[in-house]
């Protein structure tokens, strides 16, 4: 616990650096001095448009999405006591994707596509919640199986929608499915959700630490397991739904960031949760910066870059930890 302040301080500084880099780099070269002038309220009108209207909202959205997914992934891994769990394992992204794709197929506007994605994510959450609850006893295994099967069902629906959609809609749909930050415009609500979740989950950290060792141990240590598990599930679902609404299904961040942090920092949720918020944000901000500059003016889906950055780093950490 005494490492909390230095670790978070370091990550916060890295976050600022990552966001600064994201504002400076783009497909149109701007000198760092000009970007600084814009940030401090000056600069030419063209640079102001580029930095404040195009890069800043996208950077903030990328950071919030990364943070939301990493925290959701950390919570899911504790909840399901399964290292392979990620924010999407319980079918939430599938529900969001079906909602968004149907809205795109119907030719609805920007706001309605986001709204449909959020509605789909919530629908999937409550579907899994209701089905896993069932009549029998509840276990993480049952929740996991329900979620995985519901996810498979959504997957089939997604394939069906892609198969019957007119060709003109397909590129947009594929980019949505691969995760794409180029449309994200209002990151405010996402930041609020992320902040609230981290602040509210922090007092639960000790209970989560016990829960991670098993439900029986937790119960014998006086943790009321069932309500805690449902709280964790709903919080993780809300975080994921918010992220998916903002940027589509960005993969990999939610799986890998919590694991990386555990390898470095140990498995204390009181550190892991806030650190995930920052580290996830940093990873996605850097990945998105690369996604829009590597082969500019073409853009890559950000998921491609998160995997390319994350896989070697993760493998190195895993190798070193032996």
């Amino acid at each position: 616990m005494n490492r909390l302040v230095p670790v978070l301080g370091l990550l916060a500084a890295a976050s600022l650096a990552a966001m600064g880099l994201a504002l400076t780099l783009g497909s149109v070269p701007l000198p760092p001095t000009e970007v600084w002038a814009v940030v401090t309220g000056g600069g030419e009108s063209l640079s102001r448009t580029l930095v404040l209207e195009l890069r800043l909202p996208r950077t903030l959205a990328a950071f919030a999405t990364g943070g939301l997914l990493a925290v959701a992934g950390a919570l899911m891994q504790v909840l399901l006591r399964n290292p392979l769990a990620d924010p999407y394992v319980l079918g939430l992204s599938g529900g969001a994707a079906v909602g968004a794709l149907l809205a795109m197929l119907a030719g609805l506007g920007v706001a309605l596509v986001s709204g449909a994605a959020f509605a789909g994510a919530l629908l999937s959450t409550f579907l899994v919640f209701g089905l896993a609850h069932g009549t029998g006893s509840w276990t993480p295994v049952r929740l996991l199986l329900t979620g995985v099967v519901v996810a498979a069902g959504w997957g089939a629906l997604i394939s069906f929608i892609l198969a019957v959609s007119p060709g003109a809609e397909l590129p947009g749909m594929l980019y949505w499915l691969m995760g794409d930050l180029s449309h994200a415009r209002h990151p405010g609500p996402a930041w609020l959700v992320l902040l609230l979740a981290v602040v509210l989950a922090w007092p639960l950290g000790r209970s989560l630490n016990v829960l991670a060792r098993g439900a029986l141990q937790a119960a014998s240590l006086g943790v009321s397991v069932r309500p805690l598990e449902w709280t964790v599930y709903l919080v993780a679902a809300l975080l994921t739904a918010t992220a998916v609404t903002l940027a589509g299904t960005v993969g990999f961040v939610g799986l890998i960031v919590p694991h990386m942090l555990r390898l470095v920092l140990g498995n204390d949720q009181r550190i892991i949760l806030p650190a995930s918020a920052l580290a996830g944000g940093i990873l996605l901000t850097l990945a998105d910066t690369l996604a829009r500059t590597v082969i500019a003016p073409q853009q890559l889906p950000v998921g491609v870059i998160t995997a390319m950055l994350g896989v070697p780093v993760f493998l190195y950490l895993l190798h070193r930890s032996r």
Partner: protein
């Protein structure tokens, strides 16, 4: 085409004042500036420019081609990838692909007009450009008549009205000539393949569908609702068209239509009616579509000549 200055239309400013003098203009509308250009785009929105656009960004290969065709090529400052015709267009700065635009580069080019492809560009990105105060013209040609209208409207917006009028009339005239010559000939059942995996065709609403009708062909899948239906091969075998025509993955790659030869029971195969049409001549909504249309009409005429004696 360049006209001597003497027969050019008088500048818009003079015509406007003439209207006022004649009393045909009841009152000067508030905000209606002198010399304004007002054009409706294909989404039905009114595009207003205070003067002809000097810096145009084109967001589709077909729109780039149209702008060059109406002599506005030198006003194009940015295009998207695959804008390869005419050769001069390929040298222009690229602002992403039609399906994924690089907004930063577009904004940095400081265009006074962006010409966009409604069904091909992401609606959200176009929306974003307009919020940044950039004028966006939406194009969506579905019929040959729309295409001719596009030539006229884009030429008005770029101040090349004379060229646009002439080229649009030539396009209409060319289409009319094909129609007069071929539309009444005996119908040829035809399957038009625009993609191989998945197998894709077009319906009667599609521009290519209109051209098939112009040539006296009957699209065997023309009645399907979807503009670009995806099919399985069995449906083509069952329909047994007299002609199979289509494009390929390249401008000279006829492998897709040739692949039908293995189905020796097909009428089109027995009569050797497998015809390749370079995709850029018919699958792009540009004036070059007349060349593709002429090619298709000639192929159908060839197919008619290959009918065994006594058959319809």
């Amino acid at each position: 085409m360049i006209f001597p200055a003497s027969i050019r239309r008088p500048p818009v400013r003079i015509r406007f004042w003439c209207l006022v003098c004649l009393g045909l203009w009841p009152a000067v509308l508030p905000g209606a500036g002198v010399g304004e250009i007002r054009v409706a785009d294909d989404a039905g929105r009114e595009i207003v420019l205070t003067e002809p656009a000097r810096r145009v960004v084109s967001l589709s290969p077909h729109l780039t081609e149209i702008l060059f065709h109406v002599d506005a090529g030198e006003r194009v400052v940015g295009t998207v990838s695959f804008s390869d015709y005419p050769a001069a267009a390929a040298r222009l700065p690229v602002v992403g692909s039609a399906g994924q635009l690089d907004l930063e580069r577009i904004v940095a080019l400081e265009p006074d007009l962006v010409v966009a492809w409604q069904s091909g560009n992401p609606a959200r990105q176009l929306d974003r450009l307009q919020r940044l105060g950039i004028t966006v013209y939406l194009n969506e040609p579905r019929r040959l008549a729309d295409l001719a209208g596009t030539l006229e409207r884009l030429s008005r917006l770029t101040g090349t009205h004379e060229a646009g009028t002439v080229r649009a009339e030539a396009l209409r005239e060319g289409a009319r000539a094909l129609e007069v010559r071929y539309a009444g000939r005996s119908p040829v059942p035809l399957f038009y393949q625009i993609w191989d995996r998945p197998l894709m065709t077009v319906n009667d609403e599609h521009l290519i569908g209109e051209i098939i009708g112009l040539c006296g062909g009957v699209n065997v899948f023309g009645h399907i609702d979807n503009l670009v239906p995806r099919l399985n091969r069995e449906a083509v075998l069952a329909a047994d068209p007299e002609v199979i025509a289509g494009g390929g993955s390249g401008e000279a790659d006829s492998a897709w239509v040739e692949a039908w030869r293995r189905w020796t029971g097909l009428t089109a195969v027995r009569r050797d009616n497998l015809f390749f049409i370079p995709p850029s001549l018919i699958q792009r909504q540009t004036p070059r579509i007349l060349e593709g249309a002429a090619l298709l009409c000639e192929f159908l005429e060839l197919a008619r000549s290959r009918r065994p004696a006594g058959s319809p």
